[in-house]
């Protein structure tokens, strides 16, 4: 009796635990967002303090950069004073922070233009480039990974592995220069300088975007294709795939419902990280192609010690990267087959 009661208690406890687990999974998304809402500002605050402090201690002087070799120390000092670069560093930091939070991001020291316009304008360009690169990258990587998995061990698989590994071992800069030499210098299909104006002629915008976007995409292609290949192979090895086949499933239902969804899970976290880097702007690619993105802007800001531009730019890229990570986590929760199964039940 005791035993049976105990056993029925255990059964209902298990049932409750099962429901609790389900509920806890349901509540994970808002909780995750809540956690990140607390964490992100703290991370950004720490980063902003570090950037402010590092740019202060590294050698170099914005006033000297601006006025050059023949200006006197007094003139350099006066220039720095006029641009709000003198006084206690803590005071200057808080003054910047208050301005940043209230929407006054200051004026760029080198471009003499409002930092907010510069950063957000360039962010738009970087997002556009990143999105184009992403659109090129994901289907190609999935397709290559799938082809390799389908022909595992074949000559095609081996050739693609060697090709992709070779590609992964060549730095973006080299790939970019080679593409420029072939497609811009020799074939004259695309411009060397990828200046764009988003409201300009769409054909010209596309021409300017192709080489930087392809270079960016190629940089991530190898790892993503490799992970897709592994994911597909693992899925094909699994019990549930075998069961599905034995049950007589075939065609798109088998592939989409059982292979693709499961195979893609390992790559999603990777995609999130890539998305963050792609959207935050790739300094190397933007610099090489002269693409007016945030990455290239931040390189200039760092070299010239343009502190206001650098701080705001870093904050914006920080937000983008952290958001991309959040999206990844949410995506992982949502495509987790166990959660779906529970929901279905």
């Amino acid at each position: 009796m005791t035993v049976s009661l105990s056993s029925s208690d255990t059964a209902s406890a298990n049932a409750r635990r099962g429901l609790a687990v389900l509920r806890s999974r349901h509540s994970q998304v808002p909780r995750l967002i809540g956690q990140r809402l607390l964490q992100v500002p703290i991370v950004l605050l720490v980063v902003s303090v570090l950037v402010f402090w590092l740019i202060k201690i590294v050698p170099g002087d914005p006033g000297r950069n601006a006025l050059g070799q023949y200006a006197t120390s007094e003139q350099v000092q006066a220039w720095n004073e006029a641009h709000g670069l003198t006084g206690p560093i803590i005071e200057r930091y808080f003054s910047w922070l208050v301005g940043f939070v209230t929407g006054d991001w200051g004026t760029s020291l080198i471009y003499a233009a409002p930092v907010r316009d510069l950063v957000l304008g360039r962010l738009g360009n970087s997002l556009f480039l990143g999105a184009v690169a992403f659109v090129i990258l994901v289907p190609v990587a999935f397709a290559l990974g799938a082809i390799q998995a389908r022909r595992e061990g074949s000559r095609t698989d081996r050739a693609l592995t060697i090709g992709l590994m070779s590609l992964a071992s060549v730095p973006e800069f080299v790939v970019g220069v080679l593409l420029l030499i072939v497609f811009s210098l020799t074939l004259r299909w695309f411009p060397i300088q990828s200046s764009i104006s988003l409201d300009g002629d769409p054909g010209e915008v596309l021409r300017a975007l192709v080489l930087p976007a392809v270079t960016l995409a190629l940089g991530y292609l190898s790892v993503l294709a490799r992970m897709t290949r592994t994911g597909v192979l693992d899925t094909l090895d699994s019990q549930y795939y075998r069961t599905a086949v034995i049950k007589g499933l075939h065609g798109p239902r088998l592939l989409v419902g059982h292979v693709a969804r499961n195979a893609v899970i390992p790559t999603v976290s990777l995609l999130g990280i890539y998305l963050g880097s792609l959207l935050g702007g790739s300094a190397i690619v933007e610099t090489l192609f002269g693409y007016p993105g945030l990455g290239a802007l931040l390189v200039t800001a760092t070299v010239e010690k343009d502190i206001f531009l650098l701080e705001s730019g870093v904050m914006v890229t920080g937000v983008i990267s952290l958001l991309a990570l959040l999206l990844t986590d949410i995506a992982l929760l949502l495509i987790d087959p166990r959660v779906r199964f529970d929901e279905g039940e």
Binding site: V140, V177, V214
Partner: protein, 517 residues
């Protein structure tokens, strides 16, 4: 390990679909049709295109310091005087000028009919206001140092005459007037506001500036010499990578590129015109005469005879330099010192001067290649034990009293184009702000002052020879080479520049034309 191969037909189809999607994306990326490289301006317009770097600071003609920023503002503004590559003065906004008998004042007559690009005439009040802004107490213009101790005040004498009153006679005064930051601006110009209203009385008007990308100019129809300007405009494109600049030049996107070893390695120079842009800079090896081992003049001399100057011309400047002789007079400046013996590497003299002594010191510089070449040359010679300390520009030129470039015993520092007496004032004179050698010589200073004071050609010739000889004897600075800038230019450009594109030349485009696209 895989269970199912070959795959069921359905799966094969779906994978093919995925692959096709990928290929389609690539095809979309590459679908742009073949087209010629972009060119500036409307079809048929004659646009001269130059690749530049990002300007290092906000654009204000009074304060711009780097060459790219100077070009951006200099295409719009104009000075009173400019110079040809041969050192000949060219009237610009001033038509004539003359010094008073005592050399203490210079009177400039302004050109009739010269207009700013807002349509207002250029008057003496504008010239006075511009120079007051440069030399004023609160001026942050880098040009101020060029006039300190030379220019006392500027005054208008009627609408078309300006009188510059000097602190001391200065025969090269027109060259200072043609210098950096001296483009004439309207009297009501508000410093720092130039980009909002890019005003000037020069050859072009600024049409569009896209930060970090490009700047376009159109010919200024109201320019006093508009008849001689054949171009419809100029386009500056900002490149952030030297490799991309070289490729853009090869692809015909820009019309000129500065010659450098990297450029010569990638570009076939025979396909282009090579223009010499005149002597424009040098690196001086400054020896601190108050610190061992350089407090001994025989050590300084030994060092000067040990340097292989032609080796430095070849290996540091890639051949685009003339051998120097330790005095800072650029080869295209007149008058040139005469009969100063040319130093060449002479190891017997070095051994004789060292007299068995072993000399150890460190080369401190931010120019790694120069430092390495010099170190290798010296360490190959008995008696020298040389180490090298390469710093970043920021470290080397750091602000403050203990800045390496002014305190290390041996430094290698870059100097831009100046007239000789300016160099003396900058780095030899007693108390000079950048006297890294800590060198003082009352006799030399007297001679430099006398050189500045006289306009007599014979006296100037005699004095500059004596000044150079004294520098040669005392060796506070070794100047192994004087460098000239060279550019490669697309052959579609016709006409000859009277001078390189810099502030001395007033960025003069008179007589230059290009085939329109």
């Amino acid at each position: 390990m895989t269970l199912h191969r070959p795959l069921p037909p359905g799966r094969r189809r779906s994978l093919s679909l995925l692959a096709a999607l990928g290929v389609a994306a690539l095809a979309l990326a590459g679908c742009a049709t073949a087209a010629p490289a972009t060119t500036g301006g409307e079809a048929g317009e004659a646009i001269y295109r130059i690749g530049i770097s990002d300007p290092g600071a906000e654009l204000d003609p009074l304060t711009v310091a780097d060459s790219d920023a100077q070009l951006i503002t200099g295409l719009v503004t104009e000075q009173l005087v400019s110079f040809t590559a041969d050192g000949e003065a060219l009237p610009r906004l001033a038509t004539e000028w003359a010094a008073s008998d005592d050399g203490l004042s210079w009177t400039f007559t302004l050109r009739d009919g010269a207009l700013f690009n807002d349509g207002t005439p250029v008057t003496s009040a504008d010239v006075v206001a511009t120079f007051d802004a440069i030399i004023g107490d609160d001026s942050i213009s880098p040009a101020k140092s060029a006039f300190t101790g030379i220019l006392d005040s500027v005054a208008a004498d009627g609408d078309t005459t300006v009188v510059f009153t000097l602190v001391r006679p200065f025969s090269d005064f027109p060259r200072l007037i043609a210098g950096n930051n001296t483009g004439i601006l309207p009297a009501d110009y508000e410093p720092g506001a130039w980009l909002k209203n890019p005003v000037g009385a020069g050859q072009f008007v600024l049409e569009d500036y896209t930060v970090g990308e490009s700047i376009t100019y159109a010919k200024n129809p109201d320019y006093w010499n508009a008849d001689q300007i054949d171009l419809d405009g100029v386009e500056l494109t900002i490149y952030k990578d030297p490799q991309a600049t070289a490729l853009a030049f090869q692809a015909g996107e820009i019309d000129r590129i500065n010659v450098s070893p990297d450029v010569l390695a990638t570009v076939n120079a025979d396909d282009y015109d090579t223009l010499s842009a005149g002597y424009s800079y040098f690196y001086g090896i400054h020896l601190d005469v108050t610190k061992a081992p350089f407090d001994d003049v025989t050590i300084r001399e030994a060092l000067a005879w040990a340097v292989d100057r032609q080796g430095i011309v070849d290996n540091v400047y890639g051949g685009t330099a003339a051998v120097g002789d330790d005095y800072p007079v650029l080869p295209d400046y007149l008058p040139q010192p005469l009969d100063v013996p040319q130093r060449e590497q002479d190891l017997d003299k070095v051994a004789e001067l060292l007299d068995g002594r072993e000399v150890s010191f460190t080369i401190t510089t931010s120019f790694q290649l120069f430092g390495e070449v010099l170190q290798q040359q010296l360490n190959a010679i008995d008696g020298f034990d040389v180490t090298l300390d390469v710093l970043s520009d920021e470290q080397y030129y750091a602000e403050g009293a203990d800045s390496p470039w002014l305190n290390a015993p041996l430094t290698i520092t870059s100097w831009g184009k100046r007239v000789p007496s300016q160099y003396y004032g900058l780095f030899y004179a007693t108390g000079a702000a950048w006297n890294a050698s800590n060198f003082t010589d009352a006799d030399l200073e007297k001679k430099v002052a006398a050189f500045d004071a006289t306009t007599d050609d014979g006296e100037r010739q005699q004095l500059i020879t004596e000044i150079a000889q004294e520098q040669w004897d005392q060796v506070p600075t070794i100047i192994p080479a004087l460098a000239r800038s060279e550019v490669l230019q697309n052959k579609r450009v016709t006409g000859e520049f009277v001078a390189p594109l810099d502030f001395w030349a007033g960025y003069n485009f008179a007589g230059i034309s290009v085939e329109g696209e």
